[in-house]
């Protein structure tokens, strides 16, 4: 049908789901995660909404824009490196990092329009959900309820779980950057946070049913579990997951790039739907290759933790600064 204003909700949701399925480790057991779900959803929703509000106040500041741009660039490089490490784990005699970097970044050329990002994300999200269903069916004989753990609901466990759940991913902050026409329906932040945390809880539950107590220690647990799946004559399906994960990461990069272009001064082409001009791509490719080459030997887990902390601090600054500006702004002062 006629393509209406493209909606990036599916792309953001896909990015959040991708963060979960590509986690190299899970941080908590399912029981604690499910019990703390409402609290985490509430906190993250308020934080994301607060950032959106603060951005309206502070968004014109060049420092704020360039800081977020740097965080997005860092996030993009980390996504590529994380996927590269997963490929190295799965196929030790595979190709080099440059090759993988190129393969992830090149399709972004065809995802330079908002409409293409939105529609491609819809398709990949549908495939991801289908793949997760197939995964569950293929490992169903190895899921045992008896593997569920009796994790104590004490202060340490709560702190660990909240630390793992309350991550302010870039996808939760990016809606603040979209133009008015691309605003989503009601309760966007609540839906994004809610769906992503519920998906996270479901994945944690699945992994605990499969691995038992070893779920916490397992490296790339979802990938390892999927490798054990067998569906009729299809015994080895891990290559399908890797293809899917590559698609998810590429779409994330496209969304980050679109946000980055908006931060640098808005759309690069005449029509809003043409989000990123073709002339920007050589610089984008070069930047991604450079960052990946720079951090190839670094500990991805540490870098990701640093990114998460920086993102949280940045969001806090924007919320605080935005709130102060709102209070001090003469337009908002009550008439005496």
């Amino acid at each position: 049908m006629k393509r209406e204003a493209p909606n990036l909700f599916a792309a953001l949701l896909l990015g959040l789901f991708g963060n979960i399925v590509l986690s190299s480790q899970i941080g908590y057991f399912a029981r604690t995660g499910i019990l703390l779900l409402p609290v985490s959803v509430a906190i993250l929703t308020v934080a994301a909404w607060g950032f959106s509000f603060g951005w309206r106040m502070l968004g014109q500041s060049p420092i704020m824009r360039w800081s977020l741009l740097a965080l997005l660039a860092m996030s993009s490089a980390l996504e590529i490196l994380r996927l590269w490490r997963l490929f190295e784990t799965a196929y030790p005699d595979g190709m080099n990092m440059l090759g993988i970097c190129l393969m992830i970044v090149v399709p972004v050329i065809y995802l330079r329009r908002v409409s293409s990002i939105a529609q491609t994300a819809n398709v990949v999200l549908a495939v991801l959900i289908l793949a997760c269903g197939l995964l569950v069916v293929s490992i169903a004989p190895q899921l045992h309820v008896s593997n569920l753990q009796c994790a104590p609901f004490d202060r340490t466990e709560v702190r660990t779980t909240l630390w793992a759940q309350l991550i302010l991913y870039p996808e939760l902050l990016l809606p603040a950057l979209w133009p008015g026409s691309a605003r989503f329906g009601k309760h966007t932040f609540l839906r994004l946070v809610g769906w992503s945390l519920m998906f996270s809880a479901a994945v944690h539950l699945l992994l605990e049913l499969f691995f038992g107590t070893d779920a916490i220690r397992q490296e790339n647990p979802l990938h390892t579990a999927a490798q054990s799946g067998a569906l009729s004559i299809f015994n080895r399906l891990e290559w399908m997951q890797l293809i899917l994960w590559t698609m998810v990461v590429t779409i994330k990069l496209a969304v980050y790039l679109y946000a980055g272009v908006r931060l640098m001064g808005g759309h690069a082409c005449k029509s809003e739907n043409n989000a990123v001009g073709l002339d920007r791509f050589p610089f984008y490719f070069a930047l991604m290759l450079f960052l990946c080459a720079l951090w190839r030997s670094a500990d991805i887990g540490t870098l990701t933790a640093i990114r998460n902390i920086l993102m949280g601090l940045y969001a806090g600054m924007v919320i605080l600064g935005g709130g102060i500006r709102w209070l001090l702004s003469p337009d908002t002062r009550p008439e005496s």
Partner: protein, 481 residues
């Protein structure tokens, strides 16, 4: 458009004759005959290959001779011919030299009248043309077996015969080419969105080409993204198919001299539909349609997947097949990727040779391709049987969706290269590139993947499969653009 004064037809017959003599005097097929009608000197001019002097004699001159009226001057004669006589003349007089040349090129006989600054065109077209025959491609078991021809007016009449309402519109336009080829926009004014038709008209009006021999020449001008390899339009040789698309609210573009109609806007799912889908039962039609989707995926991804499995991910190969493939690979000199590329390239060369070769030797080409290259290459150990089997299967699968043939070949080569060089991420890159191209394409603002994605009721109603006609007819309103 303001006429240039020099362009107007002169009231002096000799001047007009001189003009035509200068332009066409050396042409073999230019014919002119002086005659007198009443007291008025006239001259008949026509191209003998396009107009028929016999028809002219029977339809016009004989009738004129039987007239009792005498014409004192050219203006009266012209008025009489245009408004009173039974002679099949055109409704409007020819006033400029450009119009004169166009009418002559359209096969009309033109009557130049002394003392009148207009000429009268008489419909006497009889040009050699191919008769309406069976279509060369688009094989169907059921439904009409007519195909378009090269004559534009014939094609419009074929559509008009199917479309017996007053809402069918056939707009004639002249292209901006050296030959001023005519093209026609055919649509249903009640169903085709006015903004889409207007946008199409505007875009085609801006097209500047040296020559227009086929409707496909317009295709690249209608694409929004020039990097996108998916076709901007669909093509059909069958008036029935064009009529069906017009009923859906689309526009058919017919070009003079081309037996193919271009349909815009075109969706991805339409390449997997055929007339037989709607003549056969819903279940069978659904299965065949799904088979075509599988065939497309096999043709694009099959060889690449094979190369990827053999080189980077042998774990996906069934264990019983592993030994056979390993032995076959060990006995050939090339790597799996190069082998697959070589075989695919050879198959394309054979196909192209078979298509272009004269009929007399096309059998020889098939023989050489199938027996000599296939059999002897395997015997000599240049290529292995599994690779040849996979490449042949992909080639055959491509022919199940012939309208996407070019795209299948290009994508297949790309996927083989990417999978062979970069393994699993290369395959993923290829798959996502193709998906992004399909998702990013929006012909005239419509989703190219409609109704397949996002999945909705329409995907099942007439997308991946087809529901029964009674249900389809009920939801006809939703199916329209």
């Amino acid at each position: 458009m303001k006429e240039h004064p020099e362009e107007r037809i002169s009231a002096n017959l000799q001047e007009n004759k001189l003009f035509l003599q200068e332009r066409f005097g050396d042409s073999l097929d230019f014919y002119s005959k002086d005659l007198t009608l009443g007291q008025v000197s006239c001259c008949i001019v026509l191209f003998t290959g396009l107009a028929s002097p016999e028809k002219l004699t029977v339809m016009a001159l004989s009738l004129l001779e039987q007239q009792n009226e005498t014409f004192q001057n050219g203006a009266r004669l012209c008025r009489y011919l245009l408004r009173q006589s039974r002679i099949p003349t055109e409704g409007t007089p020819i006033t400029t030299r450009t119009m004169l040349v166009e009418r002559l090129a359209n096969g009309l006989a033109v009557l130049l009248i002394d003392g009148c600054p207009c000429a009268v065109g008489i419909s006497t077209q009889e040009m050699p043309q191919r008769s309406v025959s069976n279509p060369g491609g688009e094989g169907n078991m059921h439904g009409p077996q007519e195909a378009f021809t090269e004559l534009l007016r014939n094609n419009v009449s074929l559509l008009r015969r199917q479309f017996r309402t007053d809402s069918f519109v056939a707009e004639l336009h002249i292209s901006h080419t050296h030959a001023k080829t005519e093209y026609c926009l055919c649509y249903d004014r009640l169903r085709a969105p006015a903004d889409t038709v207007a946008a199409l008209r505007r875009r085609l009006e801006k097209v500047r080409l040296p020559v227009l021999l086929d409707s496909a020449y317009f295709a690249s001008f209608l694409k929004q993204d020039k990097l996108n390899l998916f076709p901007a339009a669909a093509y059909t040789e069958r008036p029935a198919t064009a009529c069906a698309r017009i009923c859906e609210g689309k526009v058919a573009i017919l070009v003079s001299g081309s037996p193919f109609a271009m349909i815009v806007p075109s969706f991805f799912s339409e390449h997997f539909e055929s007339l037989d889908d709607y003549s056969s039962g819903a279940v069978f039609a659904g299965i065949i349609r799904l088979l075509k989707y599988i065939a497309f995926l096999l043709s694009v991804f099959g060889p690449g997947l094979y190369v990827m499995a053999l080189t980077y991910a042998p774990e996906m190969i069934p264990i019983r097949l592993l030994g056979t493939l390993a032995q076959a690979e060990a006995h050939t000199p090339l790597s799996p990727m190069l082998e697959m590329l070589t075989v695919t390239l050879l198959l394309e060369i054979v196909r192209e040779a078979g298509l272009r070769a004269p009929k007399a030797i096309s059998h020889t080409v098939s023989l050489v391709g199938a027996l000599i290259i296939g059999e002897t290459a395997v015997s000599a150990g240049i290529v292995s049987v599994p690779v040849l089997t996979m490449a042949a299967a992909a080639t055959v699968a491509t022919l199940a969706v012939p309208s996407l043939y070019e795209q299948s070949i290009l994508f297949r080569f790309a996927v083989i290269l990417l999978a062979g060089l970069f393994g699993v991420p290369g395959f993923a890159c290829g798959a996502l590139l193709i998906l992004a191209m399909a998702c990013g394409s929006d012909p005239f603002g419509y989703d190219y993947l409609y109704p397949l994605m996002p999945p909705c009721r329409a995907s099942v109603r007439d997308g991946f499969v087809r529901t029964i006609w009674s249900s389809l007819a009920r939801s006809e309103e939703e199916g329209r653009l």
